[in-house]
């Protein structure tokens, strides 16, 4: 069949290319946010509050060319906020996802290779966590962590990281547990055991290489989830930073921008629309990439079809 021909497989679909391009673009924006952004996103200008976007030209409300997306009610530049928000999203993707993955892999492997007791504890634990409403669990964790000194680290992003990790490790751990059980039955594992390989050697030599594709697909397709959690908290109005002085400044993120834009919809709809479109682009890119990787790393389903 034509689908199996080698040159067709090695060519990357244009949507995958576009996704990679968008991801690289966002990474660059995040990396050089402080250089590209025209202003310090936290700098307030009293006389310049609530500017509309630069292309506005209605009587009474004219955009200013030096503030591309306008300003918020404190006179802070929204475009700079957006660029720094990309940095926050990237940070979450780089910290929260590996942490969650590590937790999931560790628990999954221990449960899979351990004895009956660890297995039973693991199964009951996953039962409990999956019977909790996940968003609520995340919000409760956010409320607890943000009141402690830890919550101030990285502008509150550590709070979200912990919330995400504590809620989402279960999915990966289950996935890995199931595949470790399968791997345990295979002949090469039996051979390794009978040759006297220790548990650690079994894990690093035999188990980890066999679950690596699962982990990679999970990581790629879950990066949007953490960015989304942040934005959702912004949209619902759960603040991840607790300010005791009564000011309700948001952290520099897309969620923070959405939180502000939500109540200024009439004044400047682009405050909500632009970060939303950014999140949309990023999450679609990552899920297209994840889908592509899933297909590439798991080809056996398609090929063994008889009828």
């Amino acid at each position: 069949m034509e689908a199996g021909s080698p040159e067709k497989k090695s060519r990357i679909h244009w949507s995958v290319g576009l996704s990679i391009f968008i991801i690289v673009l966002m990474a660059l924006a995040a990396l050089f946010a402080s250089i590209i952004s025209p202003y310090d996103p936290m700098r307030m200008e009293i006389g310049q509050s609530n500017y509309p976007p630069a292309w506005y030209n209605t009587p009474g409300r004219v955009g200013h060319a030096d503030h591309l997306l306008g300003t918020d009610r404190f006179g802070r530049d929204i475009f700079s906020h957006l660029l720094h928000g990309a940095r926050a999203a990237m940070f979450l993707a780089l910290i929260a996802i590996p942490l969650t993955a590590l937790l999931g892999i560790l628990v999954g492997i221990i449960a899979g290779l351990g004895n009956k007791t660890t297995e039973a504890i693991f199964l009951r634990l996953t039962d409990i966590v999956s019977s909790l409403p996940s968003f609520m669990f995340a919000v409760i964790v956010i409320f607890i962590v943000r009141a402690t000194p830890t919550g101030e680290i990285f502008g509150g992003l550590i709070t979200l990281t912990l919330a995400f990790a504590l809620v989402n490790w279960v999915n990966l751990a289950r996935l890995i547990y199931a595949s470790v059980l399968k791997i345990k039955q295979q002949e090469f594992m039996e051979a390794a055991r009978s040759l006297g390989a220790g548990k650690l050697r079994q894990v690093f030599k035999h188990v980890l290489p066999h679950i690596s594709h699962l982990v990679i697909v999970w990581i790629v397709s879950n990066i949007p989830a953490v960015i989304l959690l942040e934005a959702l908290m912004g949209y619902i109005g759960i603040q991840i930073l607790q300010r005791t002085d009564g000011s309700s400044f948001q952290d520099l993120s897309w969620g923070g921008l959405i939180f502000m834009g939500r109540s200024n919809l009439k004044l400047n709809p682009f405050m909500l629309l632009v970060p939303t479109v950014c999140i949309l682009a990023i999450s679609m890119s990552f899920s297209i990439l994840g889908e592509y990787l899933r297909e590439r790393t798991n080809p056996q389903i398609e090929s063994s079809q008889i009828v």
């Binding site: 689908a3 009951r124 039962d127 409990i128 999956s130 019977s131 909790l132 409403p133 996940s134 968003f135 609520m136 669990f137 919000v139 409760i140 964790v141 409320f143 607890i144 009141a147 949007p224 989304l228 934005a231 959702l232 949209y235 619902i236 109005g237 759960i238 603040q239 607790q242 005791t244 009564g246 309700s248 109540s263 909500l272 939303t276 999140i279 949309l280 999450s283 679609m284 990552f286 899920s287 297209i288 889908e291 389903i301 398609e302 063994s304 079809q305 008889i306 009828v307």
Partner: protein, 339 residues
């Protein structure tokens, strides 16, 4: 069968108590009390909820709601029951009493959740709304997802299969709250089809929330159905069926589909859980009067009784669904019964 039943009931009880204990400890680890939460200043609700409560009043209110008892006493009081100072016996969750809502003038949580507005059917209660929304979506997902998955497995690798999978993947990767937001902007602000605060007793306003809730797991449903169909097609008995002269569609209807359906059934639980979790977001976006909406408020208000009551109901829903589908699974698949 009886031992299976006992085992499941014991496990369900264990999960319920653990979930409640976990949520209890976590909620009490949040600093502050229900009358003085850090989120009071936020948003439009502030004007209504920002009450000035002095320390003496807080003390007396805590006394009234039993919040100054030691933590373990508070937990047993909630789960089992307690004797009040005036000698009256208060029964806890084991009698179906989900506790008092601190923030809603001491109304019972079950009354808040289960009693409908005056003169309406019980389906118009908080729980009724959510149950209806999630059930409609669940049924639509199953009725739409399975046939679409079967069709795309039947015509695997055709233009139909490719177009469907591309369409569903791209729609499903749009975050749900963005879809909700966009649909509000388009249908409410732009086209004026729905009100931003609609009358939820009228069916036409349910279309958009239900449709959004269906979109979330539909792609997963179709993909899993397709995968399990293709998996069933690769069995040796399929080759035998073809060899003895059945046509392709006969084989698929008689041999592939029944076997694939067993696998598909196992996917329904995670999909239901996903739906229930997503309904919280949908309810928050559309101000839908279900219990998800109540939950966001409860957490922001730090209303211990309401949070624990809703958690309890949620866990019950998930455990029951799990149990129901597992029983169906045992009924259908003879291999499961012998174990």
């Amino acid at each position: 069968m009886l031992s299976f039943l006992f085992q499941r009931i014991a496990r369900a009880l264990f999960i319920l108590v653990s979930v409640e204990l976990l949520v209890f400890l976590l909620v009490h680890a949040i600093p502050g009390n229900p009358w003085d939460t850090p989120d009071k200043q936020i948003g439009a609700r502030s004007a209504l909820t920002m009450l000035y409560v002095d320390d003496l009043t807080v003390e007396r209110l805590s006394q009234h709601y039993g919040l100054n008892l030691p933590l373990w006493r508070q937990f047993t009081r909630y789960m089992i029951g307690d004797v009040e100072t005036d000698g009256k016996l208060v029964c806890g969750v084991i009698c179906g009493n989900l506790g008092l809502s601190v923030r809603q003038g001491g109304r019972n949580v079950q009354e808040i959740l289960f009693s409908p507005p005056k003169g309406q059917s019980p389906w118009n209660s908080r729980v009724g709304y959510t149950v209806r929304l999630v059930t409609y979506s669940f049924v639509i997902v199953a009725l739409l997802g399975v046939p679409l998955g079967v069709a795309s497995a039947f015509w695997a690798k055709s233009w139909f299969d490719k177009a469907l999978s591309t369409l569903l993947t791209s729609v499903a990767s749009i975050p749900i709250f963005i879809l909700g937001l966009l649909s509000l902007m388009i249908f409410a602000s732009g086209l004026n089809w729905i009100n931003v605060l609609p009358d939820w007793t009228q069916p036409k306003y349910w279309i958009i929330p239900t449709a959004l809730l269906v979109i979330i797991p539909l792609a997963t449903m179709v993909r899993l159905t397709r995968a399990s169909m293709l998996d069933a097609m690769s069995g040796d008995y399929i080759r035998t069926a073809r060899a003895k002269g059945l046509t392709r569609s006969q084989t698929i209807w008689k041999h592939v589909l029944p076997n694939a359906l067993i696998t598909i059934l196992t996917f329904l639980v995670p999909i239901f859980v996903e739906l229930l979790a997503a309904s919280f977001i949908i309810e928050a976006i559309f101000a839908f009067p279900g219990f998800g909406q109540e939950y966001w408020d409860a957490i922001r208000d730090l209303d211990y009784g309401r949070i624990m009551g809703i958690t309890f109901l949620y866990a019950c829903g998930i455990i029951f669904t799990n149990f129901f589908l597992e029983s169906v699974y045992r009924l259908i698949d003879p291999r499961m019964r012998s174990e």
